[in-house]
Symmetry: C2
């Protein structure tokens, strides 16, 4: 071996000496409360960005008591929400964000996860967070959706605004071709409740009749439970039949968003 090859071998053998990196897991946790899409945020209790709101997350336990990435994401989410059981919560990897300068302390690579869950309890501020809360996504001034009263916009720490944006777009897309909208609901739900999930996430009104027929026509999307709600709607209307999530992993045919006509040129 040449000296160059030797040096390279050593570098490959223990690059920690030369390039220390930290890896964190951040979670974009979405839920629907009172018909409004909320994201879980924590207020940072320590620098950098002390006092600013951020996505919940933390360093991956890499060596001692090491954990896989999805486990780390589930742990962070459970810690912040106070939930022990993440039974009905959907969790998937969103993407990894690793540009230099994201974190002023050091080089940090963040693996972001996306979570959907049914209306979850109010969070309790964790160990290193000053506060934690479910925040309506419209109050963060990300989507060009609804304009909100000025001054309510909170600027997120790090590059978390971009990560949240990516998560929202992923969520909107996933509702099209997967049955994951049901992850926002309880075990049993009605078709109008399912429609409300789509309308909330897509920020779009859907035609009740057509939506109803379409959902029932997609094989494996929902299956009937045989019983109905106890009461009609608050403002009238008949009782709705109850369904549970079916066994399909993909919707075929998909439920496409009405307003994607711009085609993202």
């Amino acid at each position: 071996m040449t000296q160059d090859a030797d040096a390279e071998f050593l570098a490959a053998y223990d690059p920690r000496q030369y390039d220390p990196v930290s890896v964190t897991v951040d979670v974009v946790a979405l839920t629907i409360r009172d018909g409004v899409l909320h994201v879980l945020l924590v207020q940072r209790g320590a620098p950098p960005f002390q006092g600013r709101w951020a996505l919940p997350g933390g360093f991956v336990r890499a060596v001692n008591d090491s954990e896989d990435l999805p486990d780390a994401a589930a742990r962070e989410l459970a810690e912040e929400t106070g939930l022990k059981e993440l039974g009905r919560v959907h969790l998937e990897q969103l993407g990894t964000y690793g540009g230099p300068g994201r974190d002023p302390r050091m080089r940090v690579i963040s693996v972001a996860y996306l979570a959907f869950g049914p209306a979850l309890p109010d969070p309790s501020a964790g160990t290193d967070a000053a506060d934690a809360a479910w925040v309506p996504v419209t109050s963060l001034g990300l989507t060009a959706a609804a304009s909100q009263p000025p001054g309510t916009t909170r600027k997120l720490a790090f590059d978390h605004a971009g990560i949240l944006s990516d998560g929202l777009e992923r969520a909107r897309a996933k509702l099209e071709y997967t049955p994951l909208a049901t992850a926002f609901l309880g075990e049993e739900f009605t078709i109008p409740e399912l429609r409300a999930v789509y309308e909330t996430v897509w920020n779009e009104e859907l035609h009740a009749g057509n939506f109803h027929r379409k959902v029932l026509s997609v094989p494996g999307f929902v299956e009937t439970t045989g019983h109905s709600t106890e009461h009609g709607g608050r403002r009238g209307g008949p009782r709705a039949k109850l369904y549970r999530s079916g066994d399909a992993r993909l919707l075929h045919p998909a439920l496409l968003r009405p307003s994607q006509e711009e085609d993202l040129r």
Copy 2:
């Protein structure tokens, strides 16, 4: 306000208090040669898995001469293919693989990228690789597609077989709703050439007439160049018109795979 606190904190900060992790970038580079889908592999010249084939990749330059993740992926790809210009090559993040025990040396988090390019030149073995080659994906025994002569299967190093599988599935899905099939072709191409890309990646025969009409009917997928090929097909047939990639980022309506009827229950 937090300025002073930040500065004070940074001065006293010791990154070694956190678990050290190494971050690599691996690339699933796909191209089509002679109508066969190939992936770029390197033969490892050093332990672990010395002599085994693996995806090209390497450690991210994290601190000195630090680089963003997409840049690191592009660098790895350029090094292995010997290309200076990745002009027509599409590169996107595939996912991050970080379970403990992936690498016997230490905790390694791999950010995988997926690349599509037109028939690329034969690679030259890089600095730390014994060899590098474009390998037909069917020879790796991943997809339940074509059975190959026994003994040709090469078991990939690390968890690279799984990463490659994910990359192939992503590629197949992306052809449905994006115009990325054109990334496998040159600047100008014919509709039958484009159809061959779909047939190769999907491993599925498509109806020539319907495909032709469909491609032309999707707004922004391809645009006409006004001229045609010099010669007809090798076994006869008229000259085909030449097209170039259009300005659409998403195909609307999408080109759905014929054989997804199992619906992934």
